[in-house]
């Protein structure tokens, strides 16, 4: 159970990082980069 929590936490962080990448991309006004 605990393993599932920490594996999910790790994957969730990287999904947030991908969303953050997309937000930076949009802020730059170049969504097609």
């Amino acid at each position: 159970m605990s393993d599932l929590i920490f594996v999910s936490l790790s994957i969730s962080f990287f999904l947030v990082a991908l969303a953050y990448t997309h937000a930076c991309q949009k802020l730059g006004g170049n969504p097609d980069d």
Binding site: D3, S10, Q25
Partner: protein, 603 residues
């Protein structure tokens, strides 16, 4: 400060300067894909690796593709390490028969994140927790990979400054492969042999059982130390094979190995400033960055050494002789190895925290308040004093963007840096990277200074030390401040230091804090992830935006950035941003502790 301490500093910096130009120029050739003296030997291996990975090294990536590749690579590595650590009980090379019990999920998460982010914070005691397999495969793989990722990202960001009207910043996979094969591998081979020659063990034998002079039994831990030690230092990783890290005689047997270690820590971070200069076509740009880093470094080393050499008024009042002499180093020797003394310990502390190394040869928790403030400030400024491999340079480039922006505001010129106009988006990205670090350090420090968990019930598990796995008993600690070895401002410094070290991907510990509980393992793990990736992403975005721009010709309106004036401005920006952000925190910790020490000594 003693004469040997000054001489040591001069010789050390002379060697770093001598290394910078040839190694920096070599790395510029490596990352440009040019032939080097190692191409004949390693070229086939490089091409074979590309074929195996299905990578075309000539196919450059946009910043977003580069970023996604970096994130995917890091996530896969993190998950692999998490699994290997949890399964170490059924994996080979485990003569001490360590298992999942010694590596509970929260500790495995913290450790896997720690090594994947080049932090190497160790909430665990290596001798009691990780098998040889875990050390050599699950952890060591990141000593190489996370260092290579840091350097690759720095090179990609340099390309953003160097390229003109380009939508790409390089190929992530090619950068990582080239860095590993042509930079880290040869340096580690030479360094590893040197360490073995200086007495560092390299063996698969289990611990030795010996009888001490008093007749007691003692287990002396051994292992493949030299091969771990060299990449630990060259890759600014810092995670020790032994709990005592570089204070352990098997990791750092002599003054000579100590000096070699110091050179290894700063060699690549210093050299990459010259790589920057070469790649942007003006070596003086690299030397200006080097000068800023060196000025900050020397100031920190001088303050730290002077504070430790002066000792404390308590020692003087207790009639303890703290003067340096031929027979003793003098000063504050608590927490320091007698083999190294004050000068080699203070220099090590400043070097390891200026870089994102985190290796320690003395216990920073035992430093005088002002002596301990230096390592803390080095980390809080974003570890740009040469910094981590790659990370130091891209951190300093972030400050350079802010510096030209501020200079532009002051003198009314359009900000430019190495021929690129710095506009709204670039400043936004640089500020985002700066603020993310501050939010993580200060936010988690505030949280751990105040959170009060119950000692019984379901929530008690959140801050329970799993002592039964290590031959003791479990201990529910309750409030996060209960994990500290000290109360008051020194205890606050222990918390601030931990999150500064985690967020800055340094990994050194102030000691005195019981970090192996779910609360600290998880929050420190998150701080490491934020400090690594949420800083890199906006800087890659900045590089992507800059790569698209044309290079502007130098004109009378251009603010020169390859001069001592700019180097001084850069130092000012680093200090001012660091001071404005963290002085309140430092005032609650080491600064008030310093005055407390003086007041107690006079009463």
């Amino acid at each position: 400060m003693t004469l040997p301490a000054l001489l040591q500093l001069v010789v050390y910096f002379a060697i770093i300067v001598l290394i910078t130009r040839p190694l920096g120029a070599y790395m510029a050739r490596v990352f440009a894909g040019e032939q080097t003296f190692l191409s004949r030997a390693l070229g086939p291996l490089e091409r074979w690796t590309y074929r195996l990975l299905g990578v075309d090294p000539e196919q450059d990536m946009k910043w977003t593709t580069y970023c996604r590749a970096m994130l995917a690579f890091s996530l896969v590595g993190l998950m692999f390490t998490y699994g290997a650590l949890r399964l170490q009980g059924v994996l080979p090379l485990n003569p001490q028969q360590l298992g999942a019990r010694q590596m509970p999920p929260h500790l495995a998460f913290n450790t896997a994140v720690s090594f994947a982010t080049n932090t190497n914070w160790q909430s665990y005691s290596p001798e009691l927790t990780v098998s040889y397999f875990s050390n050599m495969v699950a952890l060591a793989i990141h000593n190489w990979a996370s260092a290579a990722v840091g350097i690759a990202v720095a090179i990609a960001i340099i390309r953003g400054f160097a390229r003109s009207r380009s939508s790409t910043i390089g190929n992530f996979w090619a950068d990582v492969v080239r860095c590993t094969l042509y930079v880290l591998l040869p340096l580690c081979l030479v360094g590893g042999v040197l360490f073995v020659a200086l007495g560092v063990p390299q063996t698969f034998a289990p611990s030795l059982a010996v009888t001490t002079l008093e007749g007691g039994k003692q287990a002396i831990a051994l292992g493949p130390v030299a091969s771990q030690e060299v990449i630990k230092q060259l890759g600014t990783n810092g995670g020790g094979f032994f709990n005592a890290n570089s204070a352990h005689p098997f990791e750092n047997p002599s003054a000579l190995s100590n000096f070699l270690t110091l050179i290894m820590i700063w060699s690549i971070p210093a050299a990459i400033t010259h790589t920057f200069g070469k790649m942007v076509g003006n070596a003086k740009q690299g030397w200006a960055i080097f000068g800023s880093m060196a000025a900050l470094a020397i100031a920190g080393i001088l303050v730290c050494t002077a504070a430790e050499q002066a000792g404390t008024p308590h020692l003087a009042r207790a009639h303890i002789d703290t003067a340096a002499s031929a027979l003793q180093p003098g000063g504050n020797m608590e927490g320091k190895e007698v083999r190294f003394g004050v000068a080699a310990s203070a220099l090590f502390a400043a070097v390891t925290t200026g870089a994102s190394s985190g290796a320690v040869n003395s216990m920073h928790d035992s430093y005088t308040p002002l002596g301990g403030l230096v390592p803390l400030f080095n980390m809080l400024t974003g570890e740009v004093i040469f910094g981590g491999v790659g990370a130091g340079l891209y951190g300093m480039l972030m400050f350079a963007v802010l510096a030209v922006f501020i200079a532009g505001l002051m003198v009314g010129r359009t900000p430019e840096y190495v021929g690129k106009k710095i506009e709204r988006f670039e400043v936004q990205m640089a500020m985002l990277a700066t603020l993310v670090l501050a939010a993580s350090v200060l936010g988690f420090t505030a949280l751990s200074s105040t959170v009060d968990l119950p000692k019984q019930g379901l929530l008690a598990a959140l801050n329970t030390w799993p002592g039964s796995a290590y031959g003791a008993t479990d201990a529910a600690l309750g409030a996060a401040t209960s994990n500290l070895g000290n109360g008051g401002p020194h205890g606050f410094s222990e918390i601030l230091y931990s999150y500064a070290s985690g967020t800055g991907n340094n990994g050194s510990a102030f000691a005195g804090i019981t970090a192996n509980t779910p609360w600290y393992d998880t929050t420190l793990g998150l701080a490491m992830l934020i400090g690594r990736f949420l800083m890199i992403i906006p800087l890659l975005a900045l590089a992507g935006a800059l790569a698209k721009k044309s290079r502007v010709a130098v004109s009378s309106g251009t603010f020169p950035t390859d001069t001592p004036t700019f180097a001084a401005l850069l130092v000012g920006v680093v200090v001012i941003v660091g001071a404005l952000t963290y002085i309140p925190g430092l005032a609650l910790g080491p600064i008030v502790e310093h005055y407390q020490m003086l007041a107690l000594a006079t009463h």
